[in-house]
Amino acid sequence: MGALLEFEDISIVYRTQEGEVFAVEGVKLALAAGQALGLVGESGCGKSTLALAALGLLPRSARITHGAIRFDGDLISGKGESELRPLRWRRMAYVPQSALASLVPVHSIRRQFRDTAAAHGMRATEADARAVELLRQVELDRAVLDRFPHELSGGMRQRAIIALALLFRPPMLVADEPTTGLDVIVQRQIVNLLSDLRRSEGLSLIFISHDIGVVAELCDRVAVLYAGEVMEEGPTTEVLSRPAHPYTMGLAQSFPDIRAPDRPLVSIAGHTPRLTEPTRACPFASRCPFVREVCRTTKPARVRVAQGRSIACHFASDSEAMREAAARPGLWDAGQAA
């Protein structure tokens, strides 16, 4: 099975007033058709930049300095707007974080469907019929068609956005924190909806979240990003239950489990490095409890640790011992304020 979406050693730099920001550095990832790949990590890890790059929606201040992005075998990095436009909505669609801003506030939902349809060559009658069908699929009443975004609750709005994204039956959705800010019951409804769509439509999904619990439920594979680089990648259940990279170990332990209220939570001392200059060190070195001299001078290559699983760590062969040590919460809090 060939990859639907491929990031081939991609690096992305933003030009800002304070100089360059190296947001994504040498990312290699692939999404197979029909799969869901979760991109997890904290603020500034590059996950949203990767999503925008996949859609060809990077802002003008961003530049792909290295590597290539392929969709369905076609090179899409470096393509101009006129070549990308036919791909968007029809071949790949975007579901942003639930916000009023992602729908036109002064247009009814019907109008949003019609305008999107018209912009990409679908007739209004077909758009109307498709809208009714899609609203049923996302469990919204068809009366929603004549409502305006502000008249809908956050959860209804997000389902309307997902329905709109599916207008042209794209094989791939890119969803960037689509449940963040929603109440937990509404979040559950959106997660279940995306999960149903994956099964019924065979949708491929790039799912971006800081919430590894949602990713655990929705994605076959997960890539853990830190400071613009992939730290660990592999099947979600294995990566999260038996992390091999120290950062994944810390992240998994800092995430609460409602079923285990007595399990201590850790916080990882220190904070993410500023990305204003390229580094030759491992990006996690300054916060890693297992750091050694080589980590501060040499960036580790991503190496295979098991079938379909890789980590970027000099001490990949020690991950068993590190995982044992990492279970001790005291290891992570050096008493230093982050």
Binding site: A216, F255, R259, P261, A337
Partner: protein, 331 residues
């Protein structure tokens, strides 16, 4: 009065109703944002208030800090009635920590100026004393050495450090009550535990009480002693946090817990009962249990009787007619 061993914060049958300005909205009926809420918090204790948007938890916070006045009932902090004109001191006694440490700090103020602000407002100390107090508050918030932070600006700090500055500002006056409104939900997951531990430590050391408002039930065990779950203005279940999480009795608490994603799902996504979702935005019923329209366990009696809170175990009360039979058994 500080030797009084009783609760430091008390809510006594507090109501807050808002009358819509336009009679067209909600049929002109008052919205009962807080509808008969009672609780008490002892020194050194943290009460979690959990609920979805529209549950009334933000109105409750506004009532605690005196931004809103109750329509009925009484709120006291350290024996002083909150919001009463004669008792200005209550303003000092209650401080707040907000959700967004990027929005809650003035970007043009130094950290020193930010933390000194409450002292200036209440006319406390000389400039030198205020400096000293600000540096000490920063140290207590684990920003060490505190003096080194005084001249810095918010943009030089990480999100977690900024929230520590906000906590230093909120505690510099030694308040009796800290109201924390989703204080970690905007922070990176890897620094949340440190902020929760800091808040808990300060509550114990400074013998304050804390109200911790959240929509995220997965973190409450790591900070709260007791938990109150609010639904449409009322507390539907309240008790020791572990009891509520491991043996919830109210169907709404159970739904909130079941909806939380878990790290090691053994089965597919947990399906939600259609009834729970269908009636989510509807107007609350005139009589009977407020949760009945969304409750899969509702029986005919629930449509007519508004359940009073009853204990299912010591300190664990539930407002549900079927609480005893529906209560889960702790694993």
């Amino acid at each position: 009065m500080s030797d009084d061993p009783g609760p430091i914060v008390a809510f006594r049958d507090v109501h807050k109703h808002f009358t819509p300005r336009s009679a067209l909205l909600v049929g002109g009926k008052p919205v009962k944002a807080v509808d008969g809420v009672s609780f008490a918090i002892e020194r050194g204790q943290v009460l979690g208030i959990a609920g979805e948007s529209g549950s009334g938890k933000s109105t409750l916070a506004n009532l605690l800090v005196g931004l809103e006045r109750p329509t009925a009932g009484e709120i006291t902090v350290d024996g002083l009635v909150v919001g009463a004109k004669a008792e200005r001191r209550s303003g000092r006694a209650v401080q707040m920590v907000f959700q967004d440490p990027f929005a809650s700090l003035n970007p043009r103020f130094t950290i020193g100026r930010t933390v000194e602000e409450p002292l200036l407002i209440h006319g406390v100390g000389t400039p030198a004393e205020r400096h000293e107090a600000a540096a000490a508050a920063l140290e207590r918030a684990e920003l060490r050495p505190g003096r080194a932070y005084l001249a810095r600006y918010p943009h030089e700090l990480s999100g977690g450090q900024r929230q520590r500055v906000a906590i230093a500002r909120a505690t510099v006056l030694n308040p009796k009550l800290l109201v924390a409104d989703e204080p970690v939900s905007m922070l990176d997951v890897s620094v949340r535990a440190g902020i929760l531990r800091l808040l808990k430590r300060l509550v114990v050391e400074q013998q304050m009480a804390m109200v911790f408002i959240t929509h995220d039930l997965s973190i409450v065990a790591h900070i709260c002693d007791d938990l109150a779950v609010m639904y449409r203005g009322a507390i539907v279940e309240q008790g020791p946090v572990r009891d509520l999480l491991l043996a919830p009795a109210h169907p709404y608490t159970q739904a909130l817990i079941d909806a939380v994603p878990i790290l090691s799902p053994t089965a597919g996504p947990h399906a939600l009962p259609a009834k729970l979702l269908a009636a989510a935005g509807s107007t609350p019923p005139e009589r009977g249990c407020r949760f009945a329209p969304r409750c899969v366990h509702a029986v005919a009696q629930c449509e007519v009787t508004n359940p009073a809170p009853v204990p299912v175990q010591r300190g664990h009360v539930v407002a549900c007619l079927r609480a005893a039979e529906l209560r889960r058994v702790a694993p």
